[in-house]
């Protein structure tokens, strides 16, 4: 049985109401959803509350789930929606009227950026700063593509934008990154001379 077939059979018996299949699903995806939620909200308690609510809701409303292509991206899409709804609700209470984009935090920390990068030899701490200077949308696309290993078509569904927009977003991000890295490298050369 391949990993895919295994996940598919777990998913089917979860839909039948099997709690141990549900537990397997939970264990398989909890960590990646937890990390994604933390990236979006920047608040661990809030993320864990939302994740609990999300999984309870998922189990109780499993009958309403129609046929899906990818389990992972389905979970990412619905969890993102649930998180944003909860964040919006919180925003109503504090009576701010700020755009949704500003609610997402998506900060990278230098611990999560590997020291050895393939496209550049720049220090990981510097790269972290350059990544955090990108727009929230660009950071989320980068995160979903390279941290969560999702396909561009899946990222489009998760971020609720077109395939072309995902591609453009990633492209813009890399144009900026490369430009900033060059500037940075040039500055370093000048400083050393």
């Amino acid at each position: 049985m391949t990993d895919n077939q295994f996940e598919k059979s777990v998913w089917d018996s979860f839909l039948d109401g099997n709690k141990s299949a549900f537990s397997t699903l939970f264990k398989l995806h909890y960590a990646s959803l937890h990390n994604y939620g933390l990236k979006i909200s920047g608040n661990i308690d809030f993320t864990e509350d939302c994740l609990q609510d999300f999984f309870v809701y998922l189990f109780e409303n499993r009958a309403q789930i129609s046929a899906i292509n990818s389990i992972k991206s389905y979970l990412f899409i619905s969890f993102r929606r649930a998180l944003l709804r909860a964040l919006k609700k919180e925003r109503q209470y504090v009576n701010y009227d700020i755009p949704l984009e500003l609610l997402l935090s998506f900060e990278f920390s230098s611990e999560e950026i590997a020291i050895k990068q393939e496209f550049t030899v720049i220090k990981s701490s510097v790269l972290t700063n350059l990544l955090n200077a990108l727009s929230v949308r660009e950071r989320e696309a980068i995160y979903l593509k390279y941290y969560s290993n999702l396909k561009l078509s899946e990222i489009a569904l998760i971020m609720n934008i077109s395939y072309q927009s995902v591609l453009n977003t990633l492209q813009k991000a890399y144009v900026k990154l490369r430009k900033n890295i060059e500037t940075k490298a040039l500055q370093d050369v000048l400083k050393n001379n």
């Binding site: 960590a31 809030f46 609990q52 609510d53 009576n95 496209f119 980068i142 390279y146 591609l167 492209q171």
Partner: protein
């Protein structure tokens, strides 16, 4: 960046030969694209942007503690079983505007008055449940102390705190009541332990109940109607399915496993049995890569405050190597160089 350039980058991203150049996996493609770039310096920016996109950003994956995931799972399953829609496990400090607060207070009062009548019966039963790898110290209302091992539960009625129901494993220190001679009962699926005041371990795993008595004396009331008196330093087990009683005094040679205040006490038992205990407590299945290790005998105390320490102690005392891979433990022979 112009529109034609975008589609150009898209073409590059989907070109196998270009991917081979970017990832440096094929010498022919490397030679081809190096030559191509020299001929088309106007595309150099697009080419290197596409290369960077293919190579991406390399992340260190953040690992989440397994016990944490299991704990959250237990909470979610409990909520599903009890039909509780809203979470309350983490401290919520969301700011509510004033009128919402008043509305909430009014609603909550209304709900409490409606449901208090309905929940009187449920609220009388008190349940303590541990998830895999979690150990809790409990003080029952009568002063008895209980250490509940991982993946176990204890239940009792508020009005009768000296009658408890156990699934899993727990160590009891029953507080004696000399004035009233009140007894204390531990009920399992196989038997009832009846005591005045004493210290003992009860384990209901593996389709039987084992009781190890440290101090005092106890009565075992078996589900088949028989009863047994136990003295300190004895171990007894009974399974209602097999109707088999085993009752013996512990000597150096007796093979048994017990658990006392967070420490496993293993005496002359096989490594296979030891691993079975780990599986019951932490929910990790296991496999002997070297089958001959199954019958290796283990004796001594193994701390089990957490899985890592527990495994470390087992590895030290038995000279085996235990590797964890995706929720499963693999037991290897230790290579001695």
């Amino acid at each position: 960046m112009s529109k034609t350039n975008k589609t150009f980058i898209e073409k590059l991203l989907n070109d196998d030969s270009f991917i081979n150049w970017a990832k440096e996996t094929n010498t022919n493609d490397i030679a081809f694209w190096s030559a191509w770039i020299n001929k088309h310096p106007e595309h150099i920016d697009a080419v290197y942007t596409a290369k960077a996109m293919l190579l991406g950003v390399v992340f260190n994956e953040k690992k989440l503690d397994k016990t944490k995931i299991n704990m959250e799972l237990t909470t979610v399953l409990n909520r599903i079983n009890t039909g509780q829609k809203q979470s309350n496990s983490h401290s919520k400090q969301y700011k509510l505007s004033a009128h919402i607060k008043y509305a909430a207070v009014a609603l909550i009062t209304l709900f409490i008055s409606i449901f208090s009548i309905a929940t009187i019966y449920n609220s009388k039963t008190i349940t303590h449940q541990t998830s895999f790898g979690e150990i809790i110290d409990l003080k029952l209302p009568d002063g008895t102390s209980v250490v509940l091992n991982g993946n176990s539960s204890i239940k009792y009625n508020k009005d009768q705190p000296r009658t408890v129901f156990l699934e899993g494993e727990a160590y009891f220190k029953v507080k004696p009541m000399p004035s009233t001679q009140a007894k204390f009962w531990v009920n399992t699926q196989d038997l009832t332990v009846e005591v005045f005041g004493t210290q003992f371990n009860v384990n209901t795993r593996q389709d039987k109940t084992s009781v190890l008595l440290d101090e005092g004396s106890i009565h075992l009331l078996l589900k088949n109607g028989d009863s047994k008196i136990m003295n300190p330093g004895e171990i007894a087990s009974y399974s209602k399915e097999e109707q088999k009683v085993s009752h013996k005094k512990i000597t150096k040679k007796t093979s048994y496993a017990s658990w006392k205040e967070g420490t496993y006490i293993f005496n002359n038992i096989t490594l296979d049995d030891v691993m079975q205990h780990i599986e019951n407590t932490y929910g990790m299945s296991y496999e002997f890569v070297d089958k001959s290790l199954k019958t290796k005998l283990v004796s001594g105390g193994i701390p089990n405050e957490n899985l890592d320490i527990c495994l470390l102690a087992i590895q030290k005392s038995t000279e085996v190597k235990i590797l964890t891979k995706e929720d499963k433990l693999y037991i290897y022979k230790l290579e001695i160089n």
